[in-house]
Amino acid sequence: MQTLIEAGGLHVYYGASHVLRGVDMHIGPGESVGLVGRNGMGKTTLIRSLMGHVKSAQGNVRVRGSDCTHAQPHAIARMGVAYVPEGRGIFPNLNVRENLQVAARPGKRAGQDWTYARVLDTFPRLRERLGHGGQQLSGGEQQMLAIGRALMTNPDLLILDEATEGLAPLIVAEIWRIIRDIRATGMSTLIVDRNYRAVLEHTDRCLVMEKGLIVQDGDSASLARQPEQLTRYLGV
């Protein structure tokens, strides 16, 4: 089985600090993978390296087998990888409608396309804000917009970095429901979220990061049953 995305021996430095120290990971088609670990262990840096936002000093990134180590983020996005960044990154000078439509791209699986209408059905709050500029939205509305925008690209892999941050409990529950639906359609996901229980519940496999390394890679259900591991790596 060809992997959708994989990283081999990734090393990343920020100045003198060695942030990724040789990371190997892969995600298969239709696979849902969680990424957990304390703050500052390199989770976001790994994601940003996969997306081409951060240059690695050593190692490689492959998308569907082709070398994307030096590819630009937009090239990786066009290969079917969508990214909901921590901090949302919505376009402040575009309105809600434009933020969504600028990302629209037909999907590969007919009948399961995320359309403009479906995104608005999923986030009714956005429908009430269509003409508002990105910078006029509340934090939680921006988060919904960032997720909706990623879905508009009908990706094969959806990367969610703290996608539920700043959302009301009802909406958080809704986001997890959507993640469950997305999984059922065969879209792959890579999920970082502070609620590790929800991550374990909604993924097939989970990677644990510590100090720039993947220190555990196993199925999510069994990790959920190992409280001593969770304490060791997550401090819970």
């Binding site: 703050n39 709050r125 804000r129 509340s138 700043g166 959302l167 409990p169 997550l234």
Partner: protein, 252 residues
Amino acid sequence: MSDVLLAATAVTRRFGGLTAVNGVSLALQRGQVHAVIGTNGAGKSTLINILSGELAASSGQVTLAGRDITAWPQPERARAGLGRSYQRSTVFPELSVFENCRLAAQASRQRFWHWWRDAASCRLSADLAGDALDRTGLAADAHQPAGLLAHGRKRQLEIAMCLAGEPQVLLLDEPLAGMGPEETDRILDLLQTLKAGHAILLVEHDMDAVFRIAETITVMVNGSAIASGAPAQIRANPEVRTAYLGEDEGAH
């Protein structure tokens, strides 16, 4: 009730046709954490902006220790003891963690500076900054450039910068967003100790945290406060459960 430090009375803010905050009243007392929870876009951050002075209220009144500060600009309110943190990190990325805090301490204390003297030699602001870093658990990162901190640590720095100004009233906008369980515990413990000398307004979506620490909770939906009271009262309020907590969440 004499220990009310900050009070808002029927505060309203309109943006064109949109009423973001609609006649909200609340009183922050020393020794209490007052949580404001509510749906996304309910006006929680706008309310904080009105209290901190970043936005003018369209109508209504804000008082600080009994003084009417409705017309005061933000810097004046900050110097009078009103501190706030932001939902998105607002740190200076190139400056060190310590320098970020020292600037915050310096800004809150306007004094005559000898122009030829290095601001770094100011003992008072250095002490305040060091103290704020100790309390928030950032001392080990003091000399790192702030931009290199992981997201959760930046959030801690945001709180440290707020404390460095020695405020009496803390307005915290989602301080726990992006923090892991250990940092969350640390910040909740910190808030617990800060309570004694401060009045704290906490906007937060982490309901475990809110119910653990708040004495009073106000619930906002579409700009209005639909309920306000003790945590047990709020948890049992059917309207709040439908609008915000979700039917199942209320029980846990």
